[in-house]
């Protein structure tokens, strides 16, 4: 995938995770495995990725690099990703920000876009969806993915993610997803629906 040319490198090498000349992407999420996998995927596509895991470290990172793009989790341990969107847009008016979340609702989507985010993606997302969202122009959404996951698969992935977040505790997962424990158990015992 070709990426549009962007501004020069930030010059700061301290947190550089890649040495190419691609656009600078700031990635803020407190989910370390997701951050790592997204980082790898985005670097393969030519982005130079800088990471932070909290609102506080995100804000300090925003002062030291000049990101072209940012991917920010809505719910950071020490605050709302929307605060970071505002701060980032203040410091770097050109930055294109996408919010990522497993805790989405309409009110936060509205708040995120009003704060200057260009899109709001519910997890699970794959790197192609993120890139399409970051590069989308105009007022609409990016075109639909070429090979979208099935709706049932997305539902299943979400359940699995919450299950992992609950340290594979079935009762806790059922409570957080507001499902019957037995319904959840049945789902967890089955294999994944087709992608």
């Amino acid at each position: 995938m070709s990426l549009e040319p962007t501004g020069g490198p930030s010059g700061l090498a301290t947190e550089r995770t890649s040495e190419t000349d691609g656009p600078v992407l700031m990635l803020v999420d407190d989910d370390a495995p997701l951050r790592r996998s997204l980082q790898r995927a985005m670097e393969r596509r030519g982005f130079r990725v800088f990471q932070a895991e909290s609102l506080k470290s995100g804000i300090s990172l925003a002062h030291t690099i000049k990101p072209d793009y940012a991917v920010i989790d809505l719910r950071l341990e020490d605050g709302s990703g929307i605060e970071l969107v505002k701060k980032l847009r203040e410091l770097h008016p050109q930055v294109r920000v996408v919010i990522l979340t497993g805790y989405g609702n309409i009110a936060t989507a509205v708040a995120a876009v009003k704060a200057g985010a260009i899109d709001y993606l519910a997890k699970p997302v794959d790197a192609d969806d993120v890139i399409d969202a970051l590069l989308a122009t105009g007022s609409g959404l990016p075109p639909p993915p070429a090979n979208p996951m099935s709706a049932d698969r997305v539902r299943w992935e979400h359940i699995q993610r919450v299950f992992e977040q609950c340290n594979r505790n079935v009762s806790e997962t059922a409570r957080r997803l507001n499902m019957h424990r037995r319904t959840l158990q049945r789902i967890l015992n089955k294999r994944a629906p087709r992608e």
Binding site: G102, Y103, I106, A109, V110, A122, S139, S150, L177, M179
Partner: protein, 186 residues
């Protein structure tokens, strides 16, 4: 003119609001509240009617339903902005989804409200006084909601074309149609 309340005698200085919704009882209740608040109110129950009334009234602001019998509310947006560039549009929809809210806001809508909503919130949104409350975000979406939001996003990305969305998701067209006709699972 089909609107229940066409333009009353022009009250100097009153803010002109157009309420576009195909739910007549809701329309009436909004009209009552808005008039009490000093707005000059016109209404339309369909997209077609909305074009006519808007051209006549040149509204300062609009309460806009999205799923109208004869089309999608956002189709009206460009006309409204041409008639009155400063026109402030507040979406009020029973078919709220994250994808549709992102599209609406990026298209220039001032606020996006999900039904049911208190009339006071509509008034505040029209006046630009509605506090941005992101609400609690400590609960993950339900599994059904995630599935539903995903379908809505592909639907919006397919320009609200049902057949194309069904094809992309590998679903039966009629199954999808049933899902789209319903409101979001909580």
């Amino acid at each position: 003119m089909a609107s229940e309340r066409g333009m009353a005698a022009a009250e100097a200085g009153a803010t002109r609001v157009l309420v576009v919704d195909d739910d007549a009882p809701l329309r009436r209740s909004l009209v009552r509240t808005l008039e009490r608040e000093g707005f000059q109110v016109a209404t339309a129950g369909s997209l077609k009617e909305a074009y006519d009334v808007a051209a006549e009234v040149l509204p300062d602001c609009v309460v806009l339903d999205l799923n109208l019998e004869d089309g999608h509310g956002l189709e009206l947006l460009q006309t409204l902005k041409e008639l009155r560039p400063s026109c402030r549009v507040v979406v009020l929809t029973g078919y709220d989804s994250i994808a549709s809210s992102v599209v609406a806001l990026k298209s220039g809508v001032a606020h996006y409200l999900a039904k049911p909503v208190a009339s006071e919130a509509v008034v505040a949104a029209l006046r630009g006084e509605l506090e941005e409350s992101a609400g609690p975000i400590d609960q993950p979406m339900s599994a059904d909601r995630v599935r539903w939001e995903y379908i809505q996003r592909i639907f919006e990305q397919s320009n609200r074309n049902v057949s194309e969305t069904a094809r992309r998701l590998g679903m039966h067209r009629r199954t999808l149609q049933r899902i789209l006709a319903k409101r979001a699972p909580r």
